[in-house]
């Protein structure tokens, strides 16, 4: 990506140059979230620390309307999941998976004619995280919301956002590490955003996440049939 195509938020998150003040209590960007506006979802996740944080974030938004399905990369599971996508019933699946499982799930979703308004790749390593999003207008405001959340978490991050079908350049956001530690809060943030996707972004709560920043790569998604 060329430098001249960048929209860098560094100045915003570092110094509030754009008039945004960041603090531990994150700002409200929209109207308070009404749970009635949020559609029920099925969460498809693996079994790691990041996935647990993702679920915590999603539950903070959806509460009991969230069903959870534990990922199994075997053929039988995948074929069952495909059947579920093809059953002709309205279904919203959000998830955080490893690359291998996500590759399969997303490909099966394509074949089933599903819509995918959000596709994110996330990597955590050495106290920082990288995020690459491909999304739609439905996710308007989410990248900014996530970047604020990441900044509040204290780990350094980069976040690239491509808007599908847009002639506009990709957006790049970044923030420095502030406390050197970091945690799986980023995954909680992604879980919250995906659970509330399509509603007006609102204050993203911090959830209690155990342990340090999990290293590794993950894929987040929202699938709708």
């Amino acid at each position: 990506m060329s430098v001249d195509r960048r929209f860098v938020l560094k100045s915003m998150v570092l110094g509030g140059a754009a008039g945004v003040v960041l603090s531990r209590s994150l700002p409200v960007l929209g109207a308070p979230l009404s749970r009635s506006a949020i559609r029920p979802a099925l969460a498809l996740v693996g079994s790691g620390v990041a996935e647990a944080a993702f679920l915590q974030g999603a539950r903070a938004a959806v509460g009991t309307q969230l069903q959870v399905l534990q990922m199994d990369p075997g053929l039988g599971f995948m074929l069952d999941f495909e059947q579920r996508l093809r059953a002709g019933r309205s279904l919203r699946v959000i998830g955080l998976l490893d690359d291998a499982a996500a590759t399969l799930v997303l490909d099966l979703a394509r074949s089933a004619g599903a819509r995918i308004p959000w596709l994110g790749h996330h990597t955590g390593e050495a106290g920082s995280t990288r995020h690459r999003l491909l999304n739609t207008d439905l996710a308007e405001g989410c990248a900014r919301q996530l970047s604020r959340h990441l900044h509040a978490c204290g780990a350094g991050f980069t976040l690239d956002e491509e808007r599908q079908g847009s002639a506009a350049p990709a957006r790049q956001l970044a923030g420095p590490a502030r406390n050197g530690a970091g945690s799986a809060q980023w995954a909680a943030g992604v879980g919250y955003l995906l659970a509330t996707l399509g509603t007006r972004p609102t204050m993203m709560p911090r959830v209690s996440v155990q342990g340090t920043l999990p290293s590794g790569s993950f894929v987040s998604f929202s699938i709708e049939v």
Binding site: D98, L104, L106, R110, I116, T123, R130, Q164, A170, S217
Partner: protein, 534 residues
Amino acid sequence: MSEQMNGVLPRGVTQKKFNAAVEKFRALLGEGNVLLKAEQLIPYNKIMMSVENAAHAPSAVLTATTVEQVQGIVKICNQYRIPIWTISTGRNFGYGTAAPVQRGQVILDLKKMNRIIKIDPDMCTALVEPGVTFQQLYDYIEENKLPLMLSFSAPSAIAGPLGNTMDRGVGYTPYGEHFMMQCGMEVVLANGDIYRTGMGGVKGSNTWQIFKWGYGPTLDGMFTQANYGITTKMGFWLMPRPPVFKPFEVIFENEADIVEIVDILRPLRMAQIIPNSVVIANILWEAGSAHLRRRDYTTEPGHTPDPILEKMQKDSGMGAWNLYAALYGTQEQVDVNWKIITDAFRKHGKGRIVTQEEAGHKQPFKYRAELMSGVPNLQEFGLYNWRGGGGSMWFAPVSEARGSECEKQALLAKRILHKYGLDYVAEFIVAPRDMHHVIDVLYDRTSEEETKRADACFNELLDEFEKEGYAVYRVNTRFQERVARSYGPVKRYVEHAIKRALDPNNILAPGRSGIDLDAYATRRRAKGASSGES
């Protein structure tokens, strides 16, 4: 109908023309088969290549259910000069996924044309549509208790025979060279005509899936890895299920053993003692397939150092090279060939032979045995977790089945990959005379820096291999134009002459394998239309 405004349009097509074409597509296919919304297109834009998704973003997706609809689509495309990129199941992964070669092309997804038209258990033949998957075929064979066996590539269950064969993919059984087992195609040409290859043009013929060559020029190969038509049916041969199947592995401890492995193997393959497409996988291909992850061994950036690979070997029992093969036939045939094989390897004193009984359910042996016996699985997707980050590009040079050549290629690839801080994750797929040297260039797409590095690495692999007289047999869409140059100007001239004759409006997948009338003309003009073209 509201006016559509797209951020992505096909090359040289105005919004007005695009909208007019969309209206025609809707009238032909119905609203639900013309996909334009961003959330409908994202599933087709998940790429694994070293470039932004936007470079391969489609402007629309069409789904067809009949040959007549495909004919109607090419008619509309000709009228409005709309380029279409056809996929069957779109499971090309490291060779380019479902996304089009050029930004803005309209994807024609044939997933809904998924009828198994005929399976003849006596003649061991099949005729299928593009959307048929190997899992579908496997289920059909099992449900009907047919004594037949499939051959498929590693994505097996979710991929399909037509797409894999048209891309000249390979499998792991004695029928593993899939194009060789293809017999009879139905192709919709750019002008809407339906062309059947081989015996397919003969009225009332019952030998379309029996005899490949027909009469006069045999043109089937011309439609593979090409953009001269849209294949809507394909016939192929199925292997009779043998009474005895005996898979085995031979584990080699040292990287340098590749020379002897291949030289021992070649005569066994040529004489059909070992009849199937043998695989020789290196330690990292094995590790990924066994769902090991790099970060469990090291979190240091760059390539994985040799001492760590040696530790992995020691811990896991995997070899530096791991050969997988199988015997098929009656017990008597298998016994005779087994003795020849074990004698050959024991004579050299290298290689630890592992049988199915010894391996049990251990991976990767289990999934390799399944692939060699036509049982689908998804085990090899574990490779995508080795490094993580969603980047995968298969670099697949062809090699002689000669030990010294394989070693030369392996060392060259490893040197270049390590220079760019990436791992040599490789397997050789062994035919009697050639090897497909498949290297999965795995990298982290969330890192802009690493993505650029992977891109530079892939270019250098292509350049350096070409200097040694090597070229790839297949490549992802980002590098198809580059690879076409390796094969010389005369081939390109012929390919474009055929394209002009069959598809003068350049509507079928321009850019596929570097065949694109507009780009070719532009380059020719730039070069002053001299005799050569690169």
